[in-house]
Homo-oligomer: 338 residues x 4
């Protein structure tokens, strides 16, 4: 922590800060420049961060030096985390993992039809929402537990693993029972109680980045889950909110190498929610893999005209199958495979 | 809903859309221009919105015309909503309501000391967090139920009403028991299950705007609460996230008249969280009232150096008392009072 | 400047940096913590900033401590700058200065009519564009020199001073001949050659904030003008670009006290461009004054239906006159006058 | 254009609008719904856009339907534009074009050294700034004409084409004399007079996207250049400004397919300015090509520690050569070559 003092800070103010810092068991280092004095504070960053040093008289600003996260950090664990999801599916390793399926689970027939098609094209995980966070209370809210049961059937029939969203903390055990990966949606990325709860389940968690959360906050939310003992966290970049409204969100492609430089956790990309338009999904899917993502989660629907949610961003199964061919080539070009 | 077709849309595609629209019980109006055809769709907007018309062949884009919210809308209710909080406190009327107190409830003595001071200065509602949403799992998370009990004591001792945050849906009854106003924090603005739950309590709800939510989304979240039967919703502008990092958030002052033009609900401003620096709080507090806010919620702490959270943005009680004098003058200048 | 080293930085890397810093005539201060080493660099910040210290092996990040601006800084000049514009008009002092007029100069009759009306209501400066920056090459681009001549006539007839925009560096002398204040538009805030040029004219300059420029960058652009010897710079907050699209831009009300805490220059607010909707202009005008702005620049047009640009955000002269009464009251409430 | 009326719009107001629309030679189409009336206006969009229809009494909002750009539009020209730059270099075709070089031209020896190295690795265009837009007036501003002469020498020696930035409209002829491609920087994307001027040169123009400009505004700026008769416009996505500050800007990867869906112009990516950190440049370079970019512009410097600008984001020549091998593989994976 660096404390920058005002040009006119008095000796008395400086001493007051130094005493305070010492009382906390920390070690102050004073540097007096021509223009102003700076105090470096050495010691555990969490003790230091807990102090509102900005409010001390004479202080101009306070700048943290170390990162606030620990368990998610690459300083804590050098090598990439590989999460074994069972069924021979591992995420974070050499293979790029493709998750695909409809936005919402709508009915048995449709779900199994999609599951079979995405599996045939090369997907290994089935996505599908049973509980849907919708901006309007009047929109379709998902089938609930019935949706979870249908996902289980589709899993049984195809061997695909299942990823599905948990919205309500009271449904944790229920969702954990059916899901191979519990998804925490962007709107719940800072629902800290929900994070703690999934941290206690030990189930793999797919954590979506909040639409206006920084990479640092994203990693801090992963830290919440890990601090409860669940180290199986998969991060998902799904677009951030910016002024650009041609696309639904702005996919932060730089976040992939950025996160990988900071953390050992696997990172995947959701091109469907980021773009909001199916026509743009193939290009950014390829870009995601080229940038180093460990997987993709893509919406597929055989009849987007009739989809109960997000039809506009869903690929037809045939388009998805064509895309998979291209994705394989891109993965190979960077020394990976699908 | 307006459907704009591509310049090269075929007759067949146009007929397909028209049939679809009619099948939904809606009325299409076709306008053929020199460059392209446009289809207007008349009928209940929620039926229309549920259709992913963008994916129909030949469609370039779809533009909604009507607002997606109903109960919160000024079209639904013309006159301003005034919420009677008891103890003679009404929000949304001629009087501007001031809420003040510490960021977190820390201990009995401190809380009651602050409560007395802010009351003396003119505040009518005591704010204070018992459950704190913190970015880091290692930061102080609040006193929990003990904090709620201390708020109740402070209420008893001073007559101030109490506003406090509900974070976990499982604590709804608990918080409702102690709070006069249940606060839903910015990070939970789109925690839809929590919104439904407080919608069922009938307690007044202070709904904070999500840090990257549009005014429309903000009103849709209020709609969630109202659609469960709870019409006592107070909206709180607390700053949005932008590229500017000198302030913690960017207070969207234009949102006050904007929301009032769209909705009948009362709107208050949180200058403390928006600025993140106490030195900027007085200026934007005055601005908030001048712009038409129905109230302010301000952090006050007698010893920010020792505050367990958000010390940097808290006003000393004396500064708060001075500010109250200025706020009264600004309120009078625009024909209101405090 | 603080150089934070990676946890695994070697002695050799540390020594390399220290030598480099010394060779630049700067003084390094080394602090070795348990986790990592930090090097403070004392000396003139501009010498330090010129070094890409981030690229040195072993460096994790580099954090500047001092502000990059000098002449605009309150550290450089403590008391508020008051700019004497002649005709008894001074900006930055006790009086709040109101500038008003049409978006573009359209014709003689209209301009003089508006000028008389805004003067009567209390404005002291006439705004009006002769050169208009328009997003589309097919939109009305302004009357050019003819527009400047009309502004001069309106000045002669009413005694109002004139503020008008300079877009093309080749028109500097021309605009300086007619204008009392040269306006640099938001889109040119970082047109550095234009800034240098107006820096050499000594004419008062109204510098609008770029729509996505930080307060720091805004002040650096003022520094460009001042570094050429022109100290008569008026800063104008006119809204920044964010995700919110209900208003045209998001007026950054916190920027007013923020800038005043950093700089001695006067700050005004442009509510018309910020909102883009005349109905929201009165509320944010009052907010601007309450927050401490030294002036406002407001669009007024007697017949917005026929305006050649920005009709939607222009007030009718009668509305403007009503607003002026309210603005006076708000100014008085905070101890100023109009 | 669609005019949405307020629920309480009167017959008189509706008739006033209809008359107005007819007087402009446009054709109104009226749709009366249960809740409100909507008027569609058919006719040339530029005539319609010039009218501030929002201000008419009874109007709630106005929604444009057609795109405001013409010459840049894919509706205007279906097939991709391929710009022949001479020396066998064509941009927009099957080959992906790599531009590389230092941020600023610093001296003869260094420039020619870099030029040879990037050429050997496969670049075909040399980038280098002679005029540098710098946030601070105290930073290195470029060598000016001397820099241009050095670029010409490097071109002569290596056969590489030259792209360099034009900042001051008065230097247009000078820069056009030396450059094969004139670069318009992000900060000048809406310097409309400069756009018109380069529109008259007929030289290929590399137009960088403004840091907070929408795709629509970006295309409108290209329209400015094309409307003067210069159709050789190359668009460059270089990152937009968002709240995320880990990277210097947020590279809008979705903009590549988005622009290609709207326009026939070639699009390239600048990963160096977008990221601001050389370590992140390789990943997003590969992503850019995978997403369909027609080229990349990359900063390369043999001694970033000594670079006079942007050292932190420059690749060492050896790193660049390694990256080129990977880029070739990615290009091949999507059916292109470098």
């Amino acid at each position: 922590m660096i404390i920058v003092l005002r040009p006119n800070a008095t000796e008395q103010q400086i001493n007051h800060i130094i005493e305070k810092v010492k009382k906390l068991g920390l070690k102050p280092m004073i540097s007096k420049g021509a223009e102003r004095t700076i105090i470096g504070v050495i010691g555990p960053e969490d003790v230091i961060n807990a102090q509102p040093l900005e409010v001390y008289p004479g202080v101009e600003k306070v700048m943290p030096i170390l990162k606030p996260f620990k368990l998610v950090s690459r300083d804590f664990k050098r090598e990439d985390t590989i999460i074994d999801l069972g069924n021979g599916v591992r995420i974070g390793g050499e293979k790029v993992v493709i998750m695909a399926g409809p936005c919402s689970v709508e009915n048995r027939e449709l779900l199994i039809d999609i599951a079979k098609k995405v599996k045939k094209a090369g997907a290994v995980i089935l996505r599908g929402g049973a509980f849907k966070p919708r901006t309007s209370p009047y929109s379709f809210q998902g089938l609930g537990e019935e949706g979870l049961r249908l996902l289980a059937e589709a899993k049984k029939e195809t061997g695909l693993l299942v990823v599905t969203e948990l919205m309500d903390i009271r449904d944790t055990a229920l969702v954990a029972k059916y899901a191979d990966i519990i998804q925490i949606g962007a709107r719940n990325m800072q629902n800290f109680n929900l994070l703690k709860e999934v941290g206690q389940t030990k189930k793999p968690v797919l954590l979506k980045r909040g639409m206006s959360c920084t990479i640092k906050e994203f990693l801090m939310s992963a830290e919440y889950i890990m601090s409860e003992g669940n180290f199986n966290v998969i991060l998902c970049e799904r677009g951030i909110r910016t002024f650009e409204d041609f696309t639904r969100f702005t996919l932060d492609i730089g976040a992939i190498p950025a996160i990988k430089s900071q953390s050992h956790l696997p990172v995947i990309v959701d091109p469907s929610h980021a773009m909001g338009k199916w026509g743009l999904v193939p290009a950014v899917s390829k870009a995601g893999i080229a940038a180093g993502a460990d997987g993709l989660i893509i919406e597929v629907h055989p009849n987007p005209e009739e989809a109960l949610s997000d039809g506009a961003q869903s690929l037809y199964p045939e388009k998805f199958a064509e895309l998979m061919i291209e994705l394989r080539r891109v993965a190979e070009a960077i020394g990976r495979e699908i």
